[in-house]
């Protein structure tokens, strides 16, 4: 990691919980909840890229949405530059959203189809009042230049663009308000590899140019390896491992991380790897397994794992893992 010295914490999440109520069969039954995110804590340093990875339903997108307060978290605290943003009122929150932007997976669904690119960018700047009216046109052209779109794009509608170009518009809109932190929720997942490469290069370039901080949510481990400084692995609403990218990919400690890494098909037939194939499916987050949530699929599970929930503890510098037997398995 580059910013090891005097790292400034930009975002701090403490004991974040996000439960969604589910319909129960009977009025008299106790209420059931989907525990999408269940007590997670982490920090995000200024200028870095932290990725959240995991399979569907692990809570990675929910975490992103909870930080932005798109869904109000059930419990926990979120500090942005030291301020507790969960207690912000609407006005303060709106102001904060200028610094906290988001890029979604499907740019077509998140761009208004009846607005031209000009209107889309203009609206963002008008709401946040970042650029005075007469200067907006120049700013828009500048933004298009940053994301690699021609000036003619201004008068066109989202449907006239290809998927990759639409994602560029989404990025331009996020940049329009001079944000500090951008949450990228599966921002390149819907794109073909050659286009995906273009967008990843663009995100890296913009990060260098504007000193942006990224919270990068993705299920694709190859993409995550390319873009991140640190990686956080989630499973069923819990953090199982957080580490610097290199440590996580070269010496993963949690059995789930190991299985996840070994499941990725590698586009090189010369590499022969030992593959850990997990048995069964991810259990339901409504009634998650007791103890360690991974014990039902873990090849090393013992009686202790069924009963006791492992805490997230530090093993090695900046390498956190929640497994009772991490030291043993590392050997």
């Amino acid at each position: 990691m580059e910013a090891t010295k005097e790292k400034k914490v930009l975002l701090k999440v403490e004991h974040l919980k996000q439960y969604f109520p589910v319909k129960t069969d009977s009025f008299f039954k106790p209420k059931a909840f989907v525990k999408a995110v269940d007590d997670i804590s982490f920090q995000l340093f200024e200028g870095e890229t932290l990725s959240i990875v995991g399979e569907s339903g692990c809570g990675k997108s929910t975490t992103g949405r909870a930080i932005l307060r798109l869904d109000e978290p059930t419990d926990g605290k979120v500090y942005y530059s030291g301020q507790d943003i969960l207690h912000f009122n609407k006005k303060e929150m709106r102001k904060l959203r200028g610094e906290l932007q988001v890029i979604f997976q499907d740019p077509f669904a998140s761009l208004n189809p009846r607005q031209t690119v000009k209107q889309i960018l203009n609206e963002a700047m008008a709401i946040q009042e970042v650029v005075a009216k007469p200067k907006r046109m120049d700013r828009m052209l500048e933004l298009l230049d940053y994301v690699g779109l021609p000036p003619e794009a201004l008068d066109r509608y989202p449907h006239e663009f290809s998927g990759g170009q639409r994602q560029r518009i989404g990025i331009a809109r996020a940049l329009a308000v001079n944000p500090k932190l951008i949450i990228c929720d599966e921002a390149v997942s819907a794109l073909d590899v050659s286009i995906q490469a273009q967008i990843l290069n663009l995100l890296k370039k913009l990060q260098r140019q504007f000193g942006l901080t990224f919270l990068f949510i993705s299920h694709d481990l190859s993409v995550v390896r390319h873009i991140s400084d640190r990686v956080m692995v989630m499973y069923l609403g819990k953090v199982v491992e957080i580490a610097d990218k290199k440590d996580l990919f070269d010496s993963p400690l949690h059995p789930y991380t190991k299985a996840l890494l070994s499941s990725i098909p590698v586009p090189n037939p010369a590499i022969q790897r030992e593959r850990v194939i997990l048995k069964g499916d991810v259990p339901s987050p409504i009634d998650p397994p007791s103890g360690c949530r991974f014990h039902t699929r873990c090849p090393f599970a013992t009686e202790k794992c069924k009963l006791e929930e492992p805490a997230l503890r530090e093993l090695g510098t900046n390498h956190f893992v929640s497994c009772h037997f991490a030291e043993k398995l590392a050997q």
């Binding site: 569907s56 490469a197 890296k204 873009i227 990725i264 593959r275 499916d281």
Partner: protein, 341 residues
Amino acid sequence: MKMTENNKPILEVKGLKTHFFTKRGVSKAVDGIDFTLQKGETLGIVGESGCGKSMTSLSILRLIPSPPGKIAGGQVLYKGKDLVTMSEDEMRKIRGNEISMIFQEPMTSLNPVIPVGEQIAEALRLHQKMGRKAAWDRAVEMLKLVGIPSPEKRAKQEPFQLSGGMRQRVMIAMALACKPEVLIADEPTTALDVTIQAQILALIKDLQTKLGMGVIMITHDLGVVAETCDNVAVMYAGNIIEYASTEQIFSNPKHPYTQGLLDSLPKIYEDQEELRTIEGSVPSPYNMPSGCRFASRCPFQQPICYQQQPELMEQNDGVKVRCWMYTDQWTGQVEKQEAVK
């Protein structure tokens, strides 16, 4: 090219063209492709969205929505018989029986209100003329074969009661129930998580060895190709542009598009500062350039590339490639060897 055992291919596609006749004009989704599949071989067809890989698989089984789609030319020879000219009755005997298919999204391919065991048994009763009881027993046996726990119970459940991975297993059980000679898997794991994907790919491979069928694996994921396929056909804008063994494709890609595709992948085992990209975008299927379809995006382009489309030509090492760079007409500054790297 890797050849398996006998040289008599089980499936042979020759000059297949599938065109769509729409108000906007003719869309040449598949425009003259050739490949062969041996018994026991896994052939990968790769390419990005819109390259025609899925249309190729639908054309083999004659499942093209028609109109507007139409097989405009070519042959699909299955054990020497041409599927393109076959009557619908004969075709129905082959579809799902001798050649079957797995689709990407199992939820839309399964009937949502019929128990999954019943859906598998239906195929057996129709194709194999099995009795009700025998077909049901075989369906349960198939579910067991694809690794579904407590198959007797699961067979009576409807698709919504199963998880995504299990539904895909049911699809595979259904596709394999009649012991087909050819299995076409169209993005079979794209909708699944990586840990489940690993399970399903291992399962397909395992069943292939047991049943000795030929598999066509259609995917956009080069990792899946590297791990499962013997040979690979890379498609671009309705054409096959490179056709070689998996080792050759990955160790020594010849076509500039294949090279670009491999370079643009983020690598899981190395660090790169910047990814290489392919400039520009795919030409519209309604308005294909007359020359090489990749010419405008190609770093090695020459005037000849815009004038005439190259043929898919076999090289000394058996690799087939559709590029002027590997012909005698090539006059470019870039030496062949340099282009190959």
